[in-house]
């Protein structure tokens, strides 16, 4: 089985809210100093899901990531978890793409890779939280898509996937090749083993440009974007928290109960 996992590098989503800053002009997040970007939470689970399949059924895992700067770091991270190959997609033409443009670039890269049985994506990138790229990518590749998976097993020549639902889950059988988007329920990502890290360090990660994957410039031109972010702002919270105190914790707790009762909340 050949699994392709698409991963994205994002500003650390666990930046404390108080430190979270944006630049309204460029509509971008300004990460605080000393906080390096990380692999998107759900994409890391997608790598984990791929590794689980590899552990069980044997598979070759190729990781691709589109981005700028140190994007190879996230690919390396995936390699150290157990992926076999990694490719970065780096080109100035790939900057500021919307979901549609991103899916287009990924689809071209996947077509260049050629044969595959399964494409995995995170259910959404933990920065813009759109949750579109996976499904659009599947449509572009013309393969079935199963979204928000919590478990993926090889079965009956295809895949048996559990999808997370509001009140439970749904089990579906999908043929291969197909695309599955992965949710955090799939399990905590494994810690890279020593061997994994060493292999990842030694591995060459090719960087493909727009030319390498035969991108149609019109498809990634800013004018061609389907969606446009017109404003980015940090919401103002006007909640004033009433801190309840007391001689000790117990007294504060009693006071809290009294106040909630007085305010008719309980």
């Amino acid at each position: 089985m050949h699994i392709i996992v698409c991963v994205k590098q994002i500003p650390d989503p666990e930046i404390p809210s108080a430190k979270f800053k944006i630049d309204p002009a460029t509509k971008k997040v300004v990460p605080p100093a000393g906080v390096p970007p990380v692999i998107s939470v759900f994409d890391e689970r997608a790598v984990e899901a791929a590794c689980q399949l590899k552990d069980k059924n044997g598979a070759k895992i190729t990781v691709i990531s589109m981005g700028q700067g140190k994007v190879a770091d996230v690919v390396k991270h995936a390699l150290s978890m157990g992926a076999d190959d990694g490719i970065t997609l780096q080109d100035s033409a790939f900057e500021n793409l919307d979901s549609y443009g991103t899916a287009y670039v990924l689809s071209k890269a996947i077509q260049k890779i050629g044969e595959y049985d399964l494409v995995l994506c995170g259910r959404q990138a933990a920065d813009w939280d759109s949750g579109q790229v996976g499904s659009i990518l599947a449509e572009m590749l013309g393969i079935p898509v199963v979204t928000i998976a919590r478990n993926i097993q090889a079965a009956d020549g295809g895949l048996r996937v559990e999808r997370v639902l509001k009140d439970g889950y749904e089990v579906v059988q999908a043929p291969m090749p197909c695309l599955v988007t992965v949710s955090n329920e799939v399990g905590l990502p494994r810690l890279p083993t020593g061997m994994g890290i060493i292999t990842a360090t030694r591995k060459k990660i090719p960087a493909w440009t727009a030319q390498d994957i035969e991108i149609d410039p019109a498809q990634v031109a800013p004018e061609g974007a389907h969606t446009e972010i017109v404003k980015l702002s940090v919401p103002i919270r006007d909640v004033q928290c009433e801190i309840v105190t007391g001689k000790d914790a117990g007294e504060a707790a009693v006071e809290l109960a009294v106040r909630l009762r007085a305010a008719n909340i309980i």
């Binding site: 579109q132 509001k166 089990v171 579906v172 197909c178 809290l256």
Partner: protein, 333 residues
């Protein structure tokens, strides 16, 4: 682009009735339709829809498309994509709204791809730009740390999924008139690539999160599933539901079904008690609709105090027993 007119909604049916999100879509759809002077239509997919088409009219739709097929009894990604895309190609709506639900999250991006349209998911605010008449969708990004406004200028339809419980639902007016169009839903099971094997409903212990008036949630600071028992106890005392942060679920202290947050449940109870959770934005996203948030945390700097109405700084293991003791006394009165 002028070829596309009107607002189309993708309604949802739950246990033979219109789902709450459908009423919410009709509510916001009506507002937008009135603002732009366009027609409001809604697509209902199911196996036996009965009189729900007429009911949708009563809730404000001008036109209802009814697509019936046994294969559509439950949401099926391939089938629904086919039917909805078909309709969009024929009806050519300018705006297409779905719920940001299990179904909508899955369907919307597939439609966006097939129709080469533009999509903004998880909208919490929808408005029409007065200059251009284009839909402006405001959606939380970066786990709720920021809000982004998105416009679709170049392509049609402009698609958005609406976060449940963020817009005002439509009110019923039985006197409203409109058209119910039964369409042929040509879905052949042989064309469906993905087969649904089974649907498993997992019963949540205690009160359902979505329905609860009181929700008590714990975070990573709780420390163990054993200690989580205290959260359950408080929830039982207040007849409320138990929630949890993503880390608490992932630690295995409680089932994933209790996860409150951006990728879990969205709750808006009267009272939300947040215990030993720091208040990561992706969690706050799931509970910020609560009328009153009470935070109990050891760290006075914790983010949760920035969104809470009442707060106690201290160890929950000391606070909760005293709190529950006093509550019992107060509730007994």
């Amino acid at each position: 682009m002028d070829t596309h007119k009107g607002i189309l909604l993708c309604g949802e049916i739950e246990k033979g009735t219109l789902a709450p999100i459908t009423m919410e879509l009709l509510g916001i759809g009506r507002v937008l339709a009135d603002k732009t002077g366009q027609e409001l239509s809604i697509l209902l997919m199911g196996s036996d829809i009965g009189g729900l088409g007429e009911e949708a009219l009563a809730y404000g739709a001008d036109k209802v498309y009814v697509a019936e097929n046994p294969l559509l009894e439950h949401y099926h990604s391939d089938a629904c994509t086919m039917v909805a895309a078909d309709l969009c190609r024929k009806a050519l709506p300018s705006i297409l709204l779905l719920g940001n639900t299990d179904a909508g999250r899955d369907l919307a991006p597939r439609l966006a791809a097939r129709l080469q349209a533009g999509l903004a998911t998880d909208a919490v605010e929808l408005d029409i730009d007065p200059d251009t008449g284009i839909l402006v969708v405001t959606r939380p990004v970066f786990g709720g740390n920021a809000l982004a406004s998105v416009m679709v200028r170049k392509v049609r339809p402009q698609i958005a999924t609406v976060r449940p419980k963020t817009v005002k639902p439509a009110e019923k007016d039985a006197s409203r008139q409109g058209q119910v169009i039964r369409m042929v839903a040509e879905v052949d099971s042989s064309t469906l690539k993905v087969q649904v094997v089974e649907r498993v409903e997992e019963k949540v212990e205690g009160v359902r999160l979505e329905d609860a008036e009181v929700v008590v949630s714990g975070g990573r600071g709780i420390g163990s599933s054993q200690s989580y028992e205290m959260i359950w106890e408080l929830a039982r005392l207040l007849d409320g539901a138990v929630g949890a942060t993503r880390p608490a679920c992932e630690e295995g202290w409680i089932s994933m079904l209790h996860q409150v947050g951006q990728t879990g449940k969205m709750v808006s109870p009267k009272l939300y008690i947040a215990v030993a959770l720091s208040g990561a934005m992706q969690h706050i996203a799931g509970c910020s609709g609560s009328k009153c948030i009470v935070a109990i945390n050891q760290d006075p700097e914790a983010n949760i105090f920035k969104v809470a109405h009442y707060g106690v700084v201290g160890d929950y293991k000391e606070i909760l027993p005293a709190f529950m003791g006093k509550l019992k006394e107060l509730l007994a009165k």
